[in-house]
């Protein structure tokens, strides 16, 4: 597992270290869901995507599926530190209509009500 989790109360920051593609997406999804299962009470997920250089349709699909699962439990996913290429994929696929993206983890934390 290459993701690093940092939890503070109801917030957890996940530092992503790999590209999110068809080959890595399902492992990432399982990792997040396992962590969620083992650490109840998390409401706000902040994905620090500084280490993600590219994501494909499967990766985007994994993020949407995770958002759906987490939103069903009243939680939310925020994205931070998106690289230019990843940001472009989010822009053109209209994924920003469902995800909120922030320049940094700190800004994402500030946006939590």
């Amino acid at each position: 597992m290459s993701e690093i989790f940092k939890r503070e109360g109801k917030i957890v920051v996940v530092s992503m270290k790999n590209d999110l593609t068809a080959s890595t997406g399902s492992l990432f999804r399982e990792t997040i869901l396992n962590y969620d299962g083992a650490n109840p009470g998390i409401q706000e997920w902040i994905l620090d995507m500084e280490g993600v250089d590219f994501l494909d349709s499967s990766g985007l699909g994994v993020l949407v599926a995770l958002l759906k699962r987490i939103a069903e439990k009243g939680g939310d996913i925020k994205l931070a530190n998106l690289r230019k290429k990843v940001r472009t994929v989010f822009e053109i696929t209209r994924a920003f209509r469902i995800f909120h993206a922030y320049e940094s983890v700190e800004e994402a934390v500030k946006a939590i009500p």
């Binding site: 494909d56 349709s57 230019k84 290429k85 472009t88 994929v89 822009e91 053109i92 696929t93 209209r94």
Partner: protein, 453 residues
């Protein structure tokens, strides 16, 4: 008074990512190759003879310009290195024009005539500088050039390309009309053979090339330039963007302030290139003929094995199901890859036995036979039925298959516009991977009822 021009095109392409295999002189700007703007510029200055020194890919320039007769200018050609540029204008009578390197001769005062006279114009672009001289040889008269309304612009980066294209659009391309295009009140030019459904919203100023197709509910513009043979899928918005020739734009996308060339999305601000390997976002629709033979052979072989697999099953399960009589087998005709009408046995029906019959792909057996015979591919677009054939049928992008996008959607014969889009998409994206994708999706739909695409 006669005028002469020399075009030096032998420098390397400054923006190879936009070149798509063609030399920079053929770079499409607002639907026209750069060299055509040069010719027009030369004509405006009174030039009637032009020497073109073409470099790599020069044959594309020569086949485009030919002898220049259609422009009313005499064009001749020379090899790189065979022309001594320092001795080009030894007799300074009439107009002499030298254009060298990738630059755009922007004519601000294009509608005003330029007074004739003995003038020498030299526009030489380089990575570092732009030299402009006018008057007696070597004597720079920059102010006079500006007065004439001539403003050569450097074309060294995606940023330059984007800025020039947008500037042309924003000034509504006055004086740059191309035959075959028409200007509407909002400054839009739309080329030939372009399909724009009623629910497609076009907002000028924009330029749309020839043979483009837009899905329903698309928004194109303002300030969009769409090249030739571009397919824009449904519910996509394109504005302040340039889409180069033979590009597929996927469905439900926002393309704003970008340059798209095949499967590459380029940010004009910093030139960063996002190359996507996934055809669902953007895709290069250019012909990939080198792999066609391999693909065709694989398709025939795979169809043969599938047929071998299905035939015993058909005799064990299919025949008894057929005897239940809930479906019909009728002769029908489709167009094969070469455009000939061929007959096959079409299976239609309803009821549980037919559903089992088709889930096991037995209804596709006749198509598999056609694929083995080489009439159609294993995968491809929906074959055109014999009843739907029109005399003007354009078969340039027609690659019919046994397994198709329509089959994966379960609406094989409905929505002709969608079928048309599938056809162009497959023509550009056909590959072993794409065939496997179609095959998987068709089988998923037939066996489990999961619709995709």
């Amino acid at each position: 008074m006669a005028g002469r021009a020399v075009f030096l095109l032998d420098s390397p392409h400054p923006i190879p990512v936009l070149g798509m295999g063609a030399p920079w002189a053929m770079l499409s700007i607002c639907g026209r190759p750069l060299i055509e703007y040069w010719i027009e510029f030369a004509l405006r200055l009174g030039v009637d003879q032009c020497l073109v020194v073409a470099g790599d890919g020069g044959e594309k320039v020569t086949s485009f310009l030919e002898d220049g007769a259609r422009y009313g200018i005499q064009v001749s050609y020379a090899f790189p290195g065979s022309v001594d540029t320092s001795k080009l204008n030894e007799s300074p009578q009439g107009v002499f024009l030298l254009l060298q390197g990738p630059l755009f001769p922007f004519l601000d005062a294009v509608l005003n005539p330029i007074a004739p006279g003995d003038r020498s114009f030299k526009f030489q672009s380089s990575q570092a500088s732009l030299e402009i001289t006018q008057g007696d040889r070597g004597k720079a008269v920059h102010e006079d050039i500006r007065t004439l309304g001539i403003q050569p612009l450097q074309l060294d980066s995606v940023k330059d390309f984007y800025a020039i294209s947008m500037r042309l659009l924003d000034s509504r391309l006055r004086g740059y009309l191309t035959p075959g295009y028409s200007l509407s009140a909002d400054g839009s030019f739309i080329g030939m053979d372009t399909i724009t459904p009623a629910s497609c919203k076009l907002m000028g100023p924009l330029v749309i090339g020839n043979r483009c197709r837009f899905g329903v509910m698309t928004n194109i513009g303002p300030s969009a330039i769409i090249g030739n043979h571009v397919v824009v899928d449904t519910k996509t918005e394109i504005s302040r963007s340039i889409i180069l020739d033979s590009t597929y734009i996927g469905r439900s996308l926002d393309i704003i302030g970008k340059v798209v060339a095949g499967n590459k999305i380029i940010d004009p601000e910093d030139g960063e290139i996002l190359e996507l390997s996934e055809a669902w976002i953007v895709e290069d629709l250019r012909e990939k003929s080198s792999s066609d033979i391999l693909l065709h052979s694989f398709g025939r072989l795979a169809a043969f094995f599938l047929l071998l697999l299905l035939t015993p099953l058909y005799w064990i399960l299919g025949k008894p199901l057929a005897m239940l009589g809930q479906f019909r087998m009728e002769p029908a005709r489709i167009l094969n890859r070469s455009g000939k009408l061929i007959s096959y046995l079409q299976v239609t029906g309803s009821g549980m036995s037919y559903r089992i019959f088709s889930a096991l792909l037995f209804d596709l057996r006749p198509f598999l036979v056609l694929a083995v015979q080489g009439h159609i591919g294993l995968c491809g677009c929906d074959p055109v039925s014999g009843e739907a054939v029109s005399p003007q049928q354009d078969l340039s992008d027609y690659y019919p298959g046994a397994f198709t996008y329509g089959l994966a959607r379960g609406i094989q014969t409905a929505e002709p516009e969608l079928a048309e889009m599938d056809r162009h998409f497959y023509a550009g994206s056909r590959s072993l991977l794409e065939d496997l994708r179609i095959l998987t999706r068709c089988i998923k739909f037939r066996l489990f009822g999961i619709k995709s695409l």
